[in-house]
Structure formats: structure tokens, C-alpha cells
């Protein structure tokens, strides 16, 4: 027997979770943009899209995170750490690629020094994924070893039913199982057939890519210049990426008081690695693009055993000049060897 959540019972389900103290976030379309935001009911959700333009990353790793409030007094400086509230949150309707992204970043935020801004939110959040039933030209999860229904990073995965009545509900973690408890009465227990997942073509052979990247000589390959020629050096691919995690720390305020903030930053930006001396190790766009690819498919894996890409395809989908990881990796994997 499997458990089913009917479309018609979704609001009840959300209600039960909210009564249990959860805040529910789901994809919401507003002002021509879809992103995760707090919802009260199912009608606010936009679930029938391939994926929202913005990832759920921004709810764990804020685009601008206040760290410390400071006030400069005559004899001393008063400070107050701005600790994120530990709020119980449900992310409902996450795509598997975005869920996997969180999983990929966990080791980075956790190694050695633990970034509580990430983990306080991470630990109190439950990820309810909906397996994909559609994909577009940019989806590439299958190329990075994931799939439209991979459970990586999901606490609960919902598989849309073939008959469209609702979802098959599959918990994948203890946290997921616990989440289903307050709604057990709402879920049906019956056999049901899930809708087929879309066929997402494999766009490159990731093993080929990894092998090529690991070869030190290829660091100096001409390919980097060729594939990055039209890159304009904006940060949209990094900011929309579910796994990119670079940041800057900035003080912001008036002359006496302000807030130290942790802000998204991007390895695409020219100033990112500029030394105080003026020396800039990555002073061209091609070297910055190389860093991005190398970091995702070579270095990160070396440190954390996983590639820093979950195959959502946003980098290409929203690239102003139609570039992206897919194209570069496709080029690499098709190189004659």
C-alpha cells in the first residue's frame, strides 16, 4: 500500500502542518517572477511549472544576511549578533534538483567551522519535493547523475499521480516521516500509479568531463577562452544556481551604527579575487569561467566528494547571452581523446 495526498486535501494538509507550528513556503508567482514564499493555501502556489526562476537556496543562504548589529559609542562599541530565528519551515513543491543543491552545500557550510546561519535554518526545515513530470530544453539533472525524481536532499517526495488526483507521498528521512504524522489522517492509503517522469536527455558524459578537468595540462587549454568568449561577467548564473555559495562580508550603515552583512558574491565578477596590491589572479573572464567549472566539477568533488551541480539548468536558461555549464561541459565531453 502507498500513501496518497489528494489535490483536494492539500489545503487541509497545509492547515495541519501550520497547526503543528510550521510555516509553509511554496513557489509563488508574483510580479512576473516565481520564487518560494510563505503561503496560506494551495491556491497561491505555482506548482505546474518546470521550476521557479529562483532557488530555495535563498532561504538558507540569504542574498543579504545581517550578521552583527553595531553601534559606535564614545568609549565602546556595542554589538549584537543577529541570530536567525529557528523557525520550523516546510518547503513544499521543491524540485529534486533544488533539494539536491542543499545537500551538496551542507558539507561546505559544515566543514570545520560550522556556519550556523545555514544550519539553524537547515535543521528546522523540511523539504517536500515534487518529482518532475515535465522538463524543458535546459534541464540536465540526468547529466550529473541525478534524475527528475531523485530523492537527494528531499525529506518527503511527492510523485504526481497519473490520473492527476494528487500525489504519491514517499518519506525519505526521519524528518520526512515525522512530518507526515500530523497529516496521517489526511493521506489516503491505496495503490496508485505515479505519472511517468520526463525523459531528460543526457547532455554530456560527466565522467569524461571530470577526467578531462582533473588533467592539470587542461587548466591552460584554449577551450576556456573559446567557450567563455561571449560571457559578459554578470552574476546571474551564480546567483540562480542552487549550489553556488560564494559571499562577501560588508559593513553598512551611517556614521555611528550599522549592520555587518553577509552578501552573495560571484566568482564571475572581475573584482572577486582582486588583491589589495592590485594583483588579480583571475583577471579575465575566461579564467573566471574556468574557475567556476573547475570548482564545480573538479575541486569541490576533491574536497567534499560530490560535484557542485544538481543539473537544474538555470545557468543556461537565464543566461543573458545563452551560455552556461551545459554547453561548456558538452564541449569538453566531446573533445577527442
Amino acid at each position: 500500500m502507498t500513501r496518497i495526498l489528494l489535490n483536494s486535501r492539500l489545503d487541509d494538509c497545509l492547515g495541519a502542518w501550520r497547526s503543528a507550528g510550521f510555516t509553509v513556503l511554496a513557489p509563488v508567482k508574483r510580479s512576473d517572477l516565481t520564487r518560494f514564499d510563505e503561503v496560506q493555501g494551495a491556491s497561491e502556489m505555482s506548482l505546474d511549472i518546470v521550476m521557479p526562476e529562483r532557488t530555495i537556496k535563498e532561504h538558507f543562504f540569504l542574498q543579504t544576511e545581517p550578521l552583527i548589529r553595531y553601534e559606535i559609542k564614545k568609549q565602546q562599541i556595542e554589538t549584537e549578533e543577529m541570530v536567525p530565528p529557528e523557525r520550523k519551515r516546510i518547503f513544499f513543491g521543491v524540485r529534486p534538483c533544488d533539494a539536491a543543491g542543499l545537500d551538496i552545500d551542507d558539507p561546505l557550510f559544515g566543514w570545520d567551522y560550522k556556519d550556523d546561519y545555514w544550519f539553524r535554518r537547515r535543521e528546522k526545515s523540511v523539504i517536500v519535493t515534487i518529482a518532475c513530470t515535465s522538463a524543458d530544453d535546459f534541464c540536465m539533472c540526468t547529466s550529473v547523475g541525478l534524475a527528475p525524481d531523485s530523492p537527494k536532499g528531499s525529506d518527503v517526495m511527492l510523485h504526481p499521480l497519473l490520473d492527476g488526483r494528487g500525489w504519491l507521498v514517499v518519506p525519505h528521512t526521519d524528518r520526512g516521516k515525522a512530518l507526515l504524522e500530523p497529516v496521517s489522517s489526511i493521506l489516503l492509503e491505496e495503490a496508485a500509479e505515479p505519472a511517468p517522469v520526463p525523459a531528460v536527455p543526457v547532455k554530456f558524459d560527466v565522467n569524461n568531463v571530470m577526467a578531462w578537468l582533473a588533467e592539470p595540462a587542461n587548466f591552460e587549454s584554449q577551450l576556456w577562452k573559446e567557450v567563455s568568449q561571449r560571457c559578459i561577467g554578470c552574476g546571474s548564473c551564480t546567483y540562480l544556481c542552487p549550489t553556488c555559495h560564494c559571499f562577501d562580508i560588508q559593513d553598512e550603515g551611517d556614521t555611528y551604527s550599522g549592520i555587518r552583512r553577509k552578501n552573495w558574491d560571484s566568482c564571475s565578477f572581475a573584482m572577486f579575487t582582486m588583491h589589495t596590491s592590485g594583483h588579480n589572479p583571475r583577471n579575465t573572464q575566461s579564467t573566471r569561467w574556468r574557475q567556476r567549472i573547475m570548482h564545480k566539477f573538479n575541486y569541490y568533488r576533491g574536497k567534499f566528494g560530490v560535484n557542485s551541480c544538481s543539473g537544474c539548468g538555470r545557468c543556461t536558461r537565464q543566461c543573458p547571452v545563452d551560455m552556461g555549464i551545459t554547453e561548456t561541459l558538452h564541449e569538453i565531453s566531446n573533445l577527442p581523446r
Binding site: D115, C246, F247, I249, G258, D265, T276
Partner: protein
């Protein structure tokens, strides 16, 4: 949490060279100080900050043998360093750290030490130098080769004088051609070429090398020519950092997080990194 720095009080400020200053700062809170004393080892760095402007990364220039305070030396260039350069005794600044790895000076025991530094990169070397000189009996010959662009650009002039006076330290000073003053008694020439003249035998000698990228490149070549094994040459990398704790993604060179796996590396390790990312 992890980005919260220790408040520090400025004890004194010293003008080292044009635009270069040294701050001596001390902990305000006892427990912070205890943490530092327990964890600081020579070679580590920290983020020095001032609220309202931000943080900037430099090494801890004071040795691990003197942990009552922290000294840092920096060149005034950006927003943070410009403000730090203008603090006075009694002002409050911040320190986050110590971060990174260390020079394995226990392994240096019983060996000759060759310190090579250029310009503003004496501070990290100086931390190791004093850490060793304060336990002088554990090491054999100590040679210091220090060069700067001009005589005015030499930092820690009073300590250079002190080392010069010591019998157990061989101090070699040099300035770039054209940077000498009329009364300059020491060498004139670039560090690598001076080094080739004055370097001790590579046998049983550890070299510690700090300087700007171009100097490192030529000095490594000189050391190699002199017969130093790359495993016996240590250096520090000073990449741009924001977090200091392996998160912000800025200091990476290849798969190395300079802030966590560095900043101290052997020449062998440095040579294994992608050179064009340095």
C-alpha cells in the same frame, strides 16, 4: 557565531614605512585571549576589522612565543586599512582568528634557518623569526635576508637593528638598485641575486620565504639553483579572503582553500597548484 570577531583595544601604533603601519592590539575579554593563546601558532592569520568599515586579512606578525598581544602590519590601501591606519591607542578594533595552518617550527629544530623576505612581507616572516629566536637554543644558524625597494620601505627598522647587533643572527639587508641612500652600508640588488651570494649551505637548512608573487618566483628559482629541496622551502600565500574559514569561496587556488589549508605551504605544494591562478 562564526563571523563574530573579538573586540580588541589598540595599545600602540607604529609607522614602519611610507603607508605601512604596525598596530599592537590586546584582547578586551579574558576568555577571548585564552582562546587565542591556546590556538595561535606562528604562520596563522586573522581578520582585522573596524566596525563601520569591515574586515581585512593579514598575518599575525607577532610570534607564538608572545601572545599577550597581537601585532599586525599592513599597507594603507583600501577602505578598511585606511581607517585602521588612523586609529590611536585606546581605540577599539576587532580580530577574528587565528585561522589557517602554521609553520611546523618543531620540525625545524636542530636545523639551520634561512629567512627570506621582501618588502611588506617581512611581518609573516618576522613572526616565525621571533618564534624561533625566542627559543634560540633549539635551532642552529639563523640567516635573515631581507630586501625592499628602497631604504625607506624597509619595515621593523628597530628590529633589524637589533638582529644586526646579535651574534647569533646573520642579517643581510638589501635594497633594489636606485633605492639606496648615500649612507647605505648594506647590499644593493634584488633579493634573489643577493641570496645567491650570501645563502648558507642547503644542507640541513630550512628556508622560509615571503614576498610578492614576482619575488617568490625568482627566489624559488635561486633556491633551487642553490640546491634547496622544494620540501625544505616554506612560504605563505596572501590571497584575498572574506570569511577566513573556508566558506566564501574567494581564496581558492585550484582545490586548495588557502584560508584553511594554508596560508603556509612548502614550495612543493605551491608548485603543484595551477600557477596561473596564483
Amino acid at each position: 557565531m562564526i563571523y563574530n570577531p573579538f573586540p580588541m583595544r589598540v595599545v600602540s601604533k607604529r609607522e614602519e614605512a611610507p603607508g605601512v603601519r604596525t598596530l599592537k592590539i590586546e584582547f578586551i575579554n579574558q576568555e577571548d585571549h585564552e582562546f587565542f593563546k591556546a590556538n595561535y601558532r606562528t604562520g596563522m592569520f586573522g581578520l582585522y576589522g573596524i566596525y563601520g568599515e569591515g574586515e581585512s586579512t593579514f598575518c599575525v606578525a607577532s610570534p607564538e612565543t608572545r601572545t599577550d598581544y597581537i601585532e599586525c602590519t599592513f599597507r594603507q590601501s583600501g577602505r578598511v586599512t585606511t581607517t585602521l591606519a588612523n586609529v590611536d591607542a585606546g581605540d577599539i578594533v576587532t580580530f577574528r582568528g587565528p585561522y589557517g595552518n602554521r609553520f611546523p617550527i618543531e620540525e625545524f629544530e636542530g636545523r639551520n634557518l634561512l629567512f627570506i623576505a621582501g618588502g611588506i612581507a617581512l611581518p609573516p616572516t618576522r613572526s616565525v623569526i621571533w618564534s624561533c629566536l625566542d627559543r634560540r637554543d633549539r635551532y642552529r644558524d639563523v640567516t635573515i635576508v631581507y630586501g625592499a625597494r628602497t631604504v625607506a620601505d624597509l619595515v621593523y627598522k628597530h628590529e633589524l637593528e637589533e638582529w644586526k647587533q646579535r651574534d647569533d643572527v646573520n642579517l643581510v639587508l638589501t635594497v633594489d638598485p636606485g633605492g639606496e641612500t648615500p649612507d647605505w652600508q648594506d647590499h644593493v640588488g634584488f633579493v634573489p641575486s643577493v641570496l645567491e651570494k650570501v645563502a648558507p649551505s642547503p644542507d640541513n637548512t630550512i628556508a622560509v620565504l615571503c614576498g610578492p608573487p614576482i619575488m617568490i618566483k625568482f627566489t624559488l628559482a635561486a633556491l633551487e639553483k642553490l640546491g634547496f629541496s622544494a620540501d625544505n622551502v616554506y612560504t605563505t600565500l596572501e590571497n584575498r579572503m572574506k570569511c577566513g574559514v573556508g566558506k566564501c569561496g574567494r581564496c581558492n587556488v585550484g582545490s586548495t582553500y588557502i584560508c584553511k589549508e594554508g596560508p603556509v605551504f612548502t614550495a612543493t605544494e605551491v608548485q603543484a597548484m595551477p600557477q596561473h591562478d596564483l
